[in-house]
């Protein structure tokens, strides 16, 4: 698979995403400077986490004007895979590629810790290696992860099965206590209506290796490979 990882000024999970796709999963990765255009031949684009433009304004609000974003929108419109993690999710919201906005966490603090999320829809190109209802342990690290949208949009998103991950307890109960940031309906990740753009606040790239003590996040990346007809086996061989 050919993966493009966009580097905004202030991106800081770009190397982590590169490491997962290239060193762990053996795929080909191109780092794309935000002032450049998307190279031809990409299968998926990653908008990584970080603090694009320092997040001094609303998170993602400036990054959406980066020159590369025109190409990313076009890429998404063609139905190809785009995943935004954390700040990448915030940028997708600001760019209008996903519905809704992010508010400050209700605690008003930055929160970094493991959380549990429930896979609400396993029939997607990002979750096909998960079971429906499966609970994944994946860390979050953000100050603005409190997802919000208007009731009409929310109803549409839910009716369309676009809610992909919801914060839950270790045994899969979606409760207020399991919600780390005040997110509407415990939403941790959503997809667009066409099913090719995913935004998620948790960081799967931080929980995809045994050496880090947790491989749950790896399922997201393996699902993307599966969507391209690649298996774990193949990916390992490519890595050699």
């Amino acid at each position: 698979m050919n993966i493009g990882v966009v580097v905004f000024p202030g991106s800081n999970c770009d190397h982590d995403c590169e490491y997962i796709f290239k060193d762990v999963l053996g795929q080909s990765v191109k780092m794309i400077w935000h002032k450049d255009t998307l190279p031809a031949g990409l299968d998926a684009v990653v908008l990584p986490g970080g603090f694009s433009y320092g997040d001094y304004l609303r998170t993602g609000a400036i990054a959406r004007f980066s020159p590369v974003m025109g190409g990313v929108k076009e890429f998404a419109r063609e139905g190809r895979l785009v995943i935004g993690i954390c700040n990448g999710f915030q940028i997708l919201l600001e760019a209008g590629l996903l519905p809704g906005v992010m508010l400050r966490n209700t605690s008003l603090n930055f929160i970094c810790k493991d959380v549990y999320v429930k896979v609400e829809n396993a029939a997607t190109r990002f979750t096909n290696r998960c079971e429906s209802g499966q609970v994944l342990k994946i860390p979050i690290a953000h100050a603005d992860g409190n997802y919000y949208t208007d009731p009409v949009t929310l109803a549409g998103v839910k009716a369309n099965a676009q809610v992909i991950f919801r914060y839950c307890t270790a045994d899969g109960k979606v409760t207020a206590e399991a919600n780390p940031n005040g997110s509407l309906d415990n939403i941790a990740g959503i997809m667009n209506a066409d099913g090719n753009v995913l935004g998620m606040m948790p960081h799967p790239e931080r929980s995809a290796e045994t050496v880090l003590g947790n491989e749950d996040g790896r399922l997201i990346f393996l699902s993307m490979l599966s969507a391209f007809g690649k298996s774990e086996q193949q990916s390992r061989l490519v890595g050699v």
Partner: protein, 748 residues
């Protein structure tokens, strides 16, 4: 040059003594002008010149087979194999953090990060050591919240994980908190960059943020004591911009990947003055700068202001002649200001011009290296004997051991620091194998099979009671934390926080602490490769406890051979390495339960320490232990409680049985005897573990079993005294320990 009337008042304002001024006259052969006086004032400040500490620092061991760069550069570097170096340093930002906690702490993080990436290393870990007053004080709560969010705000944005640290709360720090920040980066051994202005004719290039009027005379402020007027010093605190620093980091590493760079140094304390004169002095060259070319935030800045500004996120670099274009292109790519502001010369002087006219001319070496040196008088304080005298017979022994344990777990110094570290991104860069909350943080080193363990530590109360022993213990305990992760210590950085060196009792503490550090480092064979001294930590004439903070780096050869502190599995056997003595002096128990900070700190035998650590490292490397935790604040009972409740995947109980054997009950449970480690071991490995310990000459006792939902510690009495029992539900233990800080902050 404008002439200037040098008055006594002007010298005092610049914190220069009459003798120092005479020396300036000698060096220049004339009176300095306003700009030159400011430059001398900054460079000869305690903060920049180490004038009171330098003759003592020379005694520290700084060499060893792994040392690639010792003290004197932006940071130290040690070889970790595979062609890589660990580059690290610790620095204080105490005074600014008291004046303005968020920005003070944030810019402390910014400064230490620049010290690391200036060397060509990508920063991969931050840690911090903090000291505050008691949390019952509203201003302390304000300082804690401000400092923590400042560290988080800067480090998180930079994408460098804050993986560990420690905090002590004690009223002595109420008006002089300590904010010490440690950073570690990884560099290729053959690609380490130094701050040198080499090659006459090479361009001197400024890049990063523009220069503003902030932080002028920060270095001088940091070398002053505080009083009620401290708040008025707020304009001397700089404002941080982590986004620009992130761009600066990436631009630097991109510049360093090529071959156009000759030398580089960040503009920290004393700004452009220190970077220019230190780079020239190291190389024996000079520099000539045109100040009109320095990127500035506002018009009308004087040479004095430009040279003494401590605006953050700025770098000075010497590039190869003719390669300016490449440098400028990379800086522009990262949207940074960049300007060629001068050339390297052979005059040995820092020559400053403004629109072609000379505005300052000083020998670089005079500013950077020939500052005053003082061998200040030292003598023990009058109260020292009274402090050390502690008659155990006047202390009633503990009766309700349950209540005592819960009180200790509720002490913010001992309690869980989760409220703090959850605000720090501690996982970014995906190297963090052991997160905050164990004895040491452990990070894998990508591209190798290795891991690094990192720990920061110091018990200031021990250092107050006995500066020599306290400093020894700081080194020993840091190394012990690493040993509990299976790591062999390979390098130390220190941050020596003391009071006013013009007080003989403070110098006495300082000199003895240096001796302690020296002896402990030599015994444990670990060199000090970088460091920082922070003096004048006193407010309203009250000095802090002597606090020589230690940051230590350990190497784990095989990343999967490491350990964490918490118990893993019911049925595992608990083994205590080391010997428990009647060490009650200076303990947290004595402070919390008896409101006394008195006595002699625990005895430390460096040979025993070394044996216990070597034994633990060996056991972990051979895969024989399930967990390893060092006994420190609160003693064995607190260590056992932490083993039960600090785990990332839930809690587990334990049943332990101890023999009084002539000790007091409180000394056995809560005494802080050194060189002790609590292990948990699979049943089938116990014999092997005891055998390894015996062969290493380490006392090892089987004291209990992991399991159940209660922490039970039974102390069997002897003919002299009755025993006692701790018997608590682990949920109660956990609740007390985990929520103590939020409770104290009023957030539970």
């Amino acid at each position: 040059m404008k002439s200037l009337v040098i008055t006594q008042a002007l010298l005092e304002q610049h914190k220069l003594s009459e003798d120092e001024y005479k020396k300036i006259l000698e060096i220049l052969g004339r009176e300095p002008n306003w700009t030159e006086l400011g430059m001398f004032s900054a460079m000869w400040s305690e903060h920049c010149s180490y004038k009171s500490s330098r003759i003592h620092l020379k005694k520290l061991p700084t060499t060893g087979p792994r040392v690639v760069q010792g003290p004197g550069e932006n940071a130290g570097a040690v070889d970790i194999g595979d062609g890589l170096c660990a580059v690290f340093k610790m620095e204080s930002h105490n005074h600014p953090s008291f004046i303005e906690p968020y920005q003070g702490a944030a810019t402390g993080v910014g400064g230490i990060l620049r010290d690391i990436f200036t060397m060509g290393a990508r920063p991969i870990a931050l840690l911090n050591s903090l000291r505050f007053g008691g949390l019952d004080n509203a201003n302390t709560r304000h300082l804690l919240k401000g400092v923590v969010s400042g560290i988080a705000g800067y480090g998180n944005c930079m994408g460098v994980p804050t993986v560990g640290g420690e905090i002590v709360f004690n009223d002595i720090y109420a008006l002089n908190p300590l904010v010490n920040v440690f950073c570690l980066g990884i560099a290729r051994k053959d690609k380490i960059f130094l701050g040198k202005a080499a090659g006459v004719g090479n361009p001197v290039i400024y890049f990063g943020s523009k220069t503003g009027r902030d932080g002028i005379h920060g270095a001088t402020m940091a070398s002053d004591s505080f009083d009620e007027e401290a708040a008025q010093k707020r304009p001397t605190v700089q404002v941080g911009d982590p986004f620009t620093e992130k761009l600066l980091l990436e631009a630097c590493l991109e510049l360093m990947s090529g071959d156009c760079l000759v030398g580089i140094q960040d503009m920290g304390a004393a700004g452009l003055t220190s970077s220019a004169c230190e780079m020239a002095s190291r190389e024996g060259t000079g520099v000539e700068l045109e100040l009109a070319d320095v990127p500035r935030r506002e018009p009308g800045m004087t040479p004095y202001e430009i040279m003494l500004s401590e605006s953050q996120e700025r770098m000075l670099m010497v590039a190869k002649a003719g390669r300016e274009g490449e440098v400028i292109k990379i800086c522009r790519k990262w949207d940074l200001d960049v300007a060629v502001i001068g050339r390297v010369t052979d005059t040995g002087k820092v020559v400053l011009k403004e629109n072609g006219h000379i505005v300052a001319e000083i020998p670089a070496k005079a500013l950077a290296d020939d500052g005053p040196r003082y061998d200040r008088p030292s003598s023990p304080p009058a109260y020292q004997e009274m402090l050390q005298a502690l008659n155990h017979d006047t202390l009633p022994d503990v009766k309700d051991a349950n209540a005592a344990l819960l009180a200790l777990l509720d002490s913010p110094t001992i309690a869980s620091k989760r409220w703090v570290y959850e605000q720090y991104d501690h996982m970014v860069r995906t190297n963090t194998m052991v997160r905050p909350g164990s004895d040491a943080a452990v990070l894998r080193v990508k591209g190798t099979n290795k891991a690094l363990a990192l720990s920061v530590d110091c018990n200031g109360r021990y250092c107050l009671l006995n500066p020599y022993e306290g400093a020894k213990i700081a080194i020993a305990e840091c190394a012990r934390n690493l040993a509990c992760s299976g790591a062999e210590p390979i390098g130390v950085t220190d941050c020596l926080n003391f009071g006013n060196p013009q007080r003989p009792e403070v110098m006495w503490q300082f000199v003895l602490a240096i001796e302690g550090l020296k002896d402990a480092c030599e015994a444990l064979k670990v060199p000090i490769v970088s460091g920082n001294v922070s003096l004048y930590n006193e407010t309203n004439d009250l000095s802090i406890y002597p606090t020589p903070m230690i940051g230590m780096v350990g190497l784990i050869e095989e990343a999967d051979r490491t350990a964490t502190q918490w118990f893993k599995q019911a049925g595992d056997v608990i083994v205590l390495l080391g010997r428990t003595r009647e060490d009650l002096g200076g303990t947290e128990y004595l402070k919390v339960l008896h409101h006394r900070e008195q006595g002699s700190p625990p005895l430390l035998n460096l040979e025993d320490e070394q044996a216990v650590q070597a034994c633990t490292i060996r056991l972990i490397r051979e895969g024989l232990v399930q967990s390893a935790h060092d006994c420190s604040d609160g003693g064995l009972a607190v260590a056992l409680a932490e083993c039960c409740v600090s785990g990332t995947d839930g809690r587990v109980g334990a049943v332990v049985e101890l023999q009084l054997d002539g000790l007091r009950r409180d000394a056995l449970l809560f005494g802080e005897s050194q060189s002790r480690i609590v292990l948990s071991v699979k049943q089938e490995q116990v014999e092997k573990v005891l055998e390894v310990a015996m062969n290493a000459g380490v006392r090892a006792s089987r004291i209990g079993t992991v399991g159940g939902s209660r922490l039970v510690i039974r102390v069997n009495g002897d003919q002299r005294a009755a025993g006692c029992t701790i018997d608590l539900d682990v949920t109660t233990v956990h609740e007390r320990w985990a929520l103590a800080i939020p409770r104290a902050l009023g957030q539970d």
